[in-house]
Amino acid sequence: MNTVLPLLSSLISFVFAIFVLNRYRTRKGTHLLFWGIGTLFYGIGGFCEFYNGAFGWNPLVFRLWYLFGAILVAAWLGQGTVYLLTKPRWANGLMIALVLGSLFALFKVFTAQLDPSLMAGAGHTGSELSGRAIVTDGVRVLTPFFNLYGTVTLVGGAGYSAYIFWRKRVLLHRTIGNILIAVGATLPAFGGFFSRLQIPGALYIGEFLGIILLFLGFLRATTEMGETVSAPTPAN
């Protein structure tokens, strides 16, 4: 489970990224660029988990996993939603903060002391990557802030969009797509939480189911279903 699931998550993420970046190439839209970058980060994180499961501990792979997979992915995906739903001035300001924060996280992660033996715990064999391997203070504390920003923006933005479409009873495919995206985005977060509670496999399962729902949601939201909404009668 510690190799197959992350490998599948990674492959799905990279295919997803191709879809999103191809859409960015043809339609532009900064939100698509950030979603594309976010899905690439998701794929990198999944690949690092696969590498660790298949070939064992590697400090560089761990640092890449923690940076892209644990800290940055949700926030960069959420930044795409910020660009979609807010004024450019707000989005640009938050983007500058995100980039500076990401550079700080890069510095902290790549200068942190690591001890892979700390990954093994009551419910973990140690073959599943965990932030417990980071010995240096001030690194793991960064993760909740990035993830809180990512969760609020990505899940909140998708949920808000779904609500708006539902309230107007328009674009059913976007309502469904945004609900799938919102639910998918919560799953890795819950997986990470349960992983912290030493439930083995929780993170990888959450990430796998999460990327499937995100991808399905994106495909649903970008593919019209035909006329399924009953239009008002002229008398109304």
Partner: protein
């Protein structure tokens, strides 16, 4: 002008599912945010 158009309807199945899903989603987000804050503040005992 109210943008809600009460005479427009989604197919019956979606008229039932979507409000339920949106409510569940809102609860999920609230739980997730509270859990994240609690973890960040060290209020939930997790593996260090």
């Amino acid at each position: 002008m109210d943008k809600t158009n009460a005479s427009r309807k989604y197919p019956p199945m979606y008229e039932k599912i979507v409000p339920f899903a949106l409510t569940a989603l809102a609860l999920l987000v609230i739980v997730l945010v509270l859990v994240t804050i609690a973890v960040a503040l060290g209020l939930i005992p997790t593996a260090a």
